[in-house]
Symmetry: C3
Subunit: 350 residues, 3 copies
């Protein structure tokens, strides 16, 4: 555990942090979880203000940040662009509608202690790195820390919660453990790929054997894939890709299976999102569902994970979700959003 290494830093992608720093967050999160369980006061951020800017709907992220900052003694502002002007990058200004991010940041940072932003999907026209660039623009101008609450590429707070859950279940060393990360079907073509990215990235940090299963038309970001592969090797694990969902599940310790968009049908590969074509493509793989048959290929003690919300009977069967596989991990994973983010805030905002 490191002591002051995180003070004042932004939390935008996990790749900005060393393995040691990420372990510090996990250990802090577990300590704060114990405080919470025992009802032991932990107002480490008494009087501090968090600005939470949501361009997209949210249940877990919003509630975990709002409850988290409050339990630490602070207060979170729930901000939506509909109730302010819309924060804009240079070249996007519209009179009386938008406000340049530089101006918004410099106006509010004197009033509080941290800015958290969620921005992805339709609101950025599925431009792949647009959400990230917006968050980076906030960070560029702010002298207070900025937290990424999810963009199209990264969902680092989810990655922390996933890693905390795996640690609670399997301990800190995942070497020799198989983590199957799969694409599964959804009626929707709007589900971001960020959770897959960060689930695989955190798994690579603890030496798991990661198998990414998806229909051949799907893929993750090659730059992130390279980072996952590199970290897996450094940490005693491995990374491979397969077309067979069953092969991935075979003897797995963790099955993380959910839908994600097809990157080749979105910008920058395409001019505009090809949603109809994506729906047609997805339709060919309707049988890619995390069901009992597949979960039975995994170890007896295997767990099913998903960042939630999920599409029941599309991404995953209710029997898996509500049965032993989901019950062993899902609610811990969701709850750890609270504890992981409290750790992040406590470490960077002091």
């Amino acid at each position: 555990m490191l002591t002051k290494a995180l003070r004042g830093r932004d939390f935008i992608t996990l790749r900005d942090f060393t393995k040691h720093e990420i372990e510090t967050i996990i250990e802090t999160g577990l300590a704060l979880k114990q405080d919470y369980t025992l009802g032991r006061p932990h107002k480490l951020l008494d009087g501090k203000t968090l600005f939470m800017m949501f361009f997209n709907p949210s249940t877990r992220t919003r509630n975990s940040f709002e409850a988290g900052i409050f339990q630490l003694g602070g207060h979170g502002h729930f901000l939506q662009p509909s109730a302010t002007r819309i924060p804009s990058l240079e070249g996007e200004d519209v009179a009386y509608k938008t406000e340049r991010i530089s101006d918004m940041v410099r106006s509010i940072q004197g009033m509080g202690d941290c800015i958290a932003v969620r921005i992805l999907g339709d609101v950025v026209g599925w431009e792949y790195d647009k959400g990230l660039r917006v968050i980076q623009e906030f960070a560029k101008w702010a002298h207070i820390p900025v937290i990424n609450m999810e963009d199209n590429i990264y969902h680092p707070c989810q990655g922390i919660a996933d890693l905390m859950a795996m640690r609670e279940i399997y301990g800190p060393d995942m070497r020799g453990r198989k983590v199957a990360v799969a694409w599964t079907y959804s009626d929707s073509t709007k589900k971001p790929i960020a959770p897959h990215h960060d689930m695989m990235y955190v798994s690579s940090l603890v030496g798991a054997d990661i198998v990414y299963a998806r229909p051949p038309e799907m893929r993750i970001d090659p730059e992130i894939e390279a980072a996952i592969k590199a970290q897996a090797e450094i940490n005693g694990g491995s990374y491979s890709v397969t077309d067979s969902f069953e092969d991935a599940c075979e003897n797995a310790d963790v099955v993380y299976a959910k839908n994600h968009v097809c990157l080749d049908l979105l910008p920058p590969v395409q001019q505009t999102p090809q949603n109809e074509e994506m729906a047609k493509l997805f339709g060919k793989y309707r049988n890619w569902i995390a069901d009992e048959k597949r979960m039975k290929l995994a170890k007896d003690t295997a767990v099913y994970m998903h960042c939630l919300p999920c599409e029941r009977e599309q991404e995953v069967s209710s029997a898996v979700l509500d049965g032993k596989w989901g019950s062993r991990a899902l609610w811990t994973e969701a709850e750890n959003r609270l504890h992981g983010q409290k750790a992040i805030m406590a470490l960077i905002m002091q």
Copy 2:
């Protein structure tokens, strides 16, 4: 007063509680009201989190819960379905739009201490028991308490505030006191019947002589009517129904007069809400208004009550609302929303 009888319980309908338990809530509410009046700290729920889920607009309920949990040392999240996915029952799932209630509840309950839900009217297509079923579904999955902030059938927090107000005005024993509960006219056909139900139910618990006055086409829920009649008899009061608003007002101590929907023009009696027909029906009874002429039939000391918001010059004349009858009770009734709900939270959330 009971000590720990309410800890950890849901607060969904008043009928789930004994008279003794409801008295405990009332007495606690009055004690907390005195603390508030004197500025005496009462942070009984320090650090606790309340999730407030509003499917419908709200002024009194939202502000009283948000201020109440804060004054007790906790924090309330103001949640609207537009900013999350929409909580769904089994069979209502839509990919990327809804989230099964079971999953939402199990995701957030680890982050806080109580869930409160308001759901009625248009958002459930006026399906009579749909809102209640949604709230019960929240309660089924939650291991933290669930509070009903109003459905189509019940508004138990309003009932508590009404009973507190009557107690402040007339004391704990209402035997021999006449409580007139009337339907009055409104241009709107969207006003739920829940407040009438719970006003009459709490009146029955303290032995009042309840007279329900309405045009012959209107009625309350027969099951609730039976419960009111039974409680009135047990507690030394009575329940009767009349077509004459004037007869009800005659010699009354309390006149509670407001509009409610016509149950026979809504599901399940009808396939779909018959709003036009209801407007036409209501139009026949435009003269059903709580006015000075009628209030003068009541005792000199009589009070006018209404859960608010009201339709002036439709349900009630401004002369009654702003005159002695309204002034004696209305603002105490509204303010008691705060104190009654603080009592409910303090008793169930500890």
Copy 3:
């Protein structure tokens, strides 16, 4: 500094307060700013509740009030009419849509300690004094203080922040200092005149030489203009008007330049807002922009001020905003929203 002169009072227009009272607010704001900077606790309103009613979008006002009341130990409710009934004046009632302000106020004032309201522009059909009348109606019925968070005529909280910023830069005595207050161009015809009014009014209180520059078709409210002129004279300053933006900038200490609506193209002069005609009129004065050329006419030490959000390259060039002129004042001005309003609340809510 006065001690208890402000307790329990409404804060609706600066003209309701003496110069001495306004100085008390400024000094309190600077003291609270120092507490905040040093991290010294100042929970002067522990447990108090602020109702913030926003009929219009807001970034600075909302965040400064919400953070401010929290830092003082209280809690702010962020209320929007879409989530309640719409508060209405007499004669504007619509069943199940609106609630008379008198009733809303009397319902919620028992639950908290202060009501703040923002209402202007489109939501009042640009009726000049409608927003102010709504706020006055809140104040008429409330026995708790009411704060004006901006109407079409006044933005007193902005005036306080502006005055605090000038005091930090130039000290408490502005005699002999030139304050240029200018109209500049915007694509939008929706920007209220309230900030100009209150910037000039506070400048008049500290004896500045105020020069209001605008195209001949524009003007401020003559009643307020008379008040500014009178105060300027009393306090050793002056007030004049010019058609030449350059003349105003010449040798100025402060250049406050932003767009405002053309009062003669709005009610009550016109029946309805003449937005197209206003856009055409504005188009004639596209070159009225606070640019480097003009700022160089001012003193070397001059500052550029704006209440923000601004329209870059319309009202002001980015070179001025992001250069030395803006940097010297703008972010202090924005940040002082927090400290000034904390002072107002601490002084009136105790």
